[in-house]
């Protein structure tokens, strides 16, 4: 199964964030690193899809007062997720091979 570009970006952000990966920091991380705006709805859709594909696992935190007594949903990348990322990256790199010259200009 291939990863879409946005899914790939989301997984990368989650890996970077480590234990602190829930939707708000994930979105901030992506916006900061890529410089492009991320719609909340798009992010939630992607997260849900990735979990359905079993590339992500999530757990709920304890209820927090600053969230109106609601829990945070923390994400971690699963082994399947990692291997999907790896194969995605590999495919891309292989496709890039021999084209490095084009990048110069």
């Amino acid at each position: 199964m291939y990863l879409g570009e946005f899914e790939h970006i989301v997984l990368l952000a989650i890996l970077r964030l480590g234990d602190e990966a829930y939707a708000i920091p994930i979105r901030e991380e992506i916006e900061e690193r890529t410089g492009r705006a991320v719609a909340r709805g798009a992010l939630y859709t992607a997260l849900e899809r990735l979990e359905v594909k079993r590339f992500l696992r999530s757990r709920m935190s304890d209820p927090l007062p600053e969230r109106g007594g609601r829990s945070r949903r923390y994400f971690t990348v699963t082994a399947a997720g990692l291997s999907a990322m790896r194969s995605s990256r590999r495919s891309l790199l292989r496709l890039w091979q021999g084209l490095e010259g084009r990048l110069e200009s």
Binding site: A39, R40, L64, G68, S71, R73
Partner: protein, 891 residues
């Protein structure tokens, strides 16, 4: 407004509906909550707005994405069809997409529907806003709903006043009110620093500001002992006045300014925008000397109460009734027949005419909306006919009827939704016109006038009404369309004359209904316009053209005695007479159409009044000799006043024709005697023509004129008849009066025509708005007739072709088609006449009893309606007549 520490609850609920109750919902709502808190620290209002935007975005995305997902997943080609067990959100999402597609497919028709609805909804929204501002929430006072207005007058007196002695007794005897405060009209003459100016002031009890819950912008409000005589020359300035005349100088507090010829110490500045009551800009303590405080006869105070905590308006009414009865028993000579009344502030301060006028407007607006609905329903029916096959296929494929109805209703709902912005725009423009046209002078008496605006309540009202409307116009076409005769429709229909017969019948019914609704609206509009015209340009009893009037109120300090007032009037008239352009000059206590009035109780010699405490009241005018010539009021018999009618000559009076008729029905009144109360008798020397002093309350009202020298009043209007445009004499007139007394303010200096315009402005509003509604109704009805006829011609092309092939002439076809339109219009008009008669009462009430339904007008407008319908039918009829049978038959 909203709780700063939590997101808007309604938005949370929206999200909960879209996302359900699971962990996903919890985490999303939690994330939004977390971000909201951070934003709310910076700005609570923008945080709430942000939250709403997010909620709407996420919800709509959720709905669309889900439906797309499922569709691609199940991959049933073209079947935008929900599966059993789908969530409501998903089903609705699908159906919404489907409806959107269908709307986009027919852009012209959708645009017409949206436009029609926008007009109908906009008219209603504008009227709602007026009712909201004028009737429901007219005051910006902090606790307006805890405030009451009281009156203690004879049962048939519609005024709302209390005598000073009764007011003081109330204050001692009641406990339902936390405070009672009294107000008294004050024409304040402000002098110094600038041109002398007349300012609207009120004398008020010392606790006036606390009673209303108003904190002054600067300084203090009045102290209790400033009600005592001698300490009462204090004023609070209105914010606008302070800025305009005193350059917003904070140092004015503590200083003394000259009002009515006496120094007054400025103690405070009212907050910006506070102009209660009636645009007041000056407030001074109401100081009742011992004589005034004991006065129970003269009722001149306006009394406002603030309910004590826990007490209701009902409590107040009950207790005041008891106190009122007790005061009536204790003081029968003055209080017999008096009834105490307690009104809510909004009700008490409302202009008398506002209620019936607004009901009429609302009824008219509702009619317009109904007509618009009929039009839209008719369009949708026509479209339903085109979609017959589509529906039949879908039902054949297993779509339930409920589902088809629901989809068509969603489509109607979306159309109504799309009309909301347009409706708000229509309402906004309408309100701007309505507010802008009103002269400021009058607007301040219409409580709540400046509150009229487009606000959240209006948007909610419009949205709610739009949804109701969608149901109203969508239901019939939806039910109709969902009931296709399957086999007929699937076989290539559309050729036989029977297809859509019941649909055509429905559409014809709708057109009949439109015409039936339009006629009463047109009658009301026509009646209003005629009435306005009559009062504005018809006979007034005086000649309003080429007359300039101006008002002065002489302060008691400077003009304490009759002699000084007499002298002022005399010199002012003499000065004015010498002003270039002036033909005749005169003074009178009250000018026609001036907006104020003066009445006295009379007794006729030889006919004592049955109740001496309740004499019949007449309008009272004190006038210099030339007043009849200046205003153009005819003397019907006897003589006008002359310079020989002096303070020391025989006391004389001139009576109006209506007074003469009422009190001397079978005699010649000249030479008879009449008197005010128990004053000296006056001899009638002449009879004057009647005038319309005020179109609402004072038409041809019995009036008694006195020579000014024998009754010099301190309040007077000066009137000059000019040889040219009266406005061109204004500067000269002002200079003439300044020569008499440079410290005396002159106000309302304007042509009499202008005063008349201002006095009838309410009526002009009635006429104008009804005219717009009538016009809208006519246009919509005509469009409706056109639509039905055009559609019918298209449907019957084939049949008409056959007829022509068999020898029917163009003329026959023309007749055939127009006859049908004629029948529709005639039936509609028939119902309309009945409806007009039934609504006659409402129309008469809306026009405040100054107009009555008129059979000729109704007949005339019915003819106009029929003619318009025929004109609308003519275009499709001509098209039918020009059908080429060889072409039509081959189709």
């Amino acid at each position: 407004m909203s709780r700063p520490d939590a997101p808007p609850r309604a938005a949370e609920r929206l999200l909960a509906v879209a996302f359900g109750r699971g962990e996903w919902a919890e985490s999303i709502l939690g994330d939004l909550h977390e971000e909201f808190i951070v934003r709310a620290l910076r700005s609570p209002a923008s945080a709430a707005r942000w939250y709403w935007i997010q909620a709407v975005r996420l919800t709509s995305r959720r709905v669309l994405v889900r439906t797309k997902d499922r569709r691609t997943a199940t991959a049933v080609p073209g079947a935008l069809s929900p599966n059993p067990g789908d969530s409501i959100m998903r089903t609705l999402g699908l159906e919404t997409r489907y409806a959107l597609r269908s709307i986009r497919k027919r852009p012209a028709m959708s645009a017409i529907v949206v436009l029609t609805l926008a007009l109908g909804l906009g008219a209603n929204a504008a009227i709602f806003s007026m009712i909201d501002a004028l009737v429901l929430r007219p005051f910006t006072l902090p606790d307006a709903d805890r405030m009451t207005l009281m009156s203690y007058l004879k049962a048939d007196d519609i005024d709302k006043r209390v005598s000073p002695a009764d007011f003081l007794d109330w204050k001692r005897q009641t406990d339902v009110f936390e405070r009672l405060t009294a107000m008294l009209w004050w024409d304040a003459n402000l002098v110094g620093r600038d041109e002398p100016e007349r300012v609207q002031g009120f004398f008020v009890s010392a606790d006036f500001f606390p009673t209303l819950g108003i904190e002054l912008a600067r300084g203090r409000s009045f102290l209790a002992d400033e009600e005592t005589q001698g300490k009462h020359h204090r004023v609070v300035l209105g914010h606008g006045l302070w800025e305009r005349r005193f350059a917003a100088d904070p140092g004015i507090i503590g200083q003394s300014i000259d009002i009515d010829g006496r120094p007054h110490e400025v103690v405070g500045i009212a907050p910006a925008g506070f102009e209660f009551p009636m645009g007041a800009q000056l407030w001074a303590p109401l100081s009742l000397d011992s004589k005034a405080a004991a006065n129970r006869r003269a009722t001149y105070l306006m009394v406002i109460g603030r309910l004590a905590p826990g007490r209701t308006l009902q409590d107040a009414k009950a207790q005041m009734a008891v106190i009122g009865e007790r005061l009536e028993r204790d003081h029968p000579d003055t209080n017999r027949g008096r009834v105490s009344r307690v009104y809510s502030l909004a009700e008490g301060m409302r202009d008398l005419g506002v209620g019936p006028i607004l009901s009429m407007w609302q009824a008219a607006a509702a009619f317009v909306l109904l007509i618009a609905c009929a039009n839209v329903a008719s369009l949708l029916l026509a479209r339903g006919a085109e979609r017959q096959r589509e529906m039949a296929v879908r039902v054949a494929m297993g779509a339930s009827r409920l589902r088809v109805v629901r989809e068509l209703l969603i489509e109607s709902g979306l159309l109504a939704l799309a009309a909301i912005p347009g409706a708000l725009l229509v309402a906004f423009i309408g309100l701007k016109l309505v507010v802008g046209y009103m002269p400021a002078k009058i607007a301040r008496f219409v409580v709540g006038w400046h509150q009229m605006d487009v606000d959240v309540r209006l948007v909610l009202f419009t949205a709610g009404l739009a949804m109701l409307t969608a149901l109203a116009f969508g239901l019939i076409p939806a039910l109709q369309a969902s009931r296709p005769r399957l086999t007929e429709s699937l076989k290539d229909g559309g050729r036989g004359a029977t297809v859509g017969a019941s649909r055509q019948r429905l559409r014809r019914g709708l057109v009949v209904a439109e015409i039936a609704l339009a006629l009463p609206l047109l009658v009301a509009a026509g009646l209003s316009v005629l009435t306005v015209h009559r009062f504005l340009y018809g006979p007034q009893g005086f000649e309003p053209d080429r007359v300039l009037t101006m008002q002065v109120v002489l302060p008691d300090v400077k003009y304490p005695a009759e002699g000084e007032r007499r002298r002022f009037a005399e010199t002012a008239v003499a000065q004015l007479r010498q002003t270039p352009g002036v033909e005749v000059a005169a003074a009178v206590n009250v000018a026609p159409a001036a907006g104020n009035n003066w009445t006295r109780g009379i007794e006729i010699d030889g006919k004592p009044n049955p109740d001496p405490n309740d004499p019949p009241s007449v309008d009272f005018r004190a006038a210099t000799p030339d007043i009849f010539a200046a205003l153009g009021i005819p003397i019907l018999s006897g003589r006008a006043f002359t310079e020989a009618d002096r303070e020391d000559s025989q006391r004389v009076a001139i009576v109006s024709a209506s007074l003469a008729r009422r009190y001397w029905p079978d005699e010649d009144p000249i030479g008879r005697r009449i008197r005010f109360g128990t004053e000296e008798w006056m001899t009638v020397v002449g009879i004057s023509g009647d005038v319309i002093h005020d179109w609402f309350m004072r038409r041809n009202y019995p009036t008694l004129y006195r020579p000014f020298k024998q009754s010099p009043t301190s309040e007077m209007a000066l009137a000059v008849r000019t040889s040219a445009d009266p406005a061109s004499v204004a500067a000269g007139a002002r200079a003439a009066l300044r020569a008499v007394d440079p410290m005396q303010p002159v106000f309302d200096l304007q042509p009499l025509r202008t005063s008349l315009q201002e006095r009838t402005v309410g009526l002009q509003y009635i006429g104008g708005i009804m005219f717009v509604f009538g016009g809208l109704a006519l246009v919509l009805a005509v469009v409706g007739v056109y639509g039905v006829m055009a559609y019918m011609v298209t449907q019957r092309r084939h049949e008409i072709g056959v007829r022509m092939a068999l020898g029917a002439t163009r003329r026959d076809v023309l007749r055939l088609t127009t006859r049908q339109a004629m029948t529709l219009a005639a039936v509609g008009v028939g119902f309309g006449v009945v409806l007009s008669l039934a609504l006659g009462r409402l129309i008469e009430a809306g026009l405040l009893g100054v107009a009555s339904s008129d059979a000729r007008l109704t007949a005339g407008l019915a003819a106009v309606l029929i003619a318009s319908a025929m004109a609308a039918a003519y275009i499709p009829a001509r098209r039918a007549a020009s059908i080429d049978p060889t072409v039509a038959l081959r189709e």
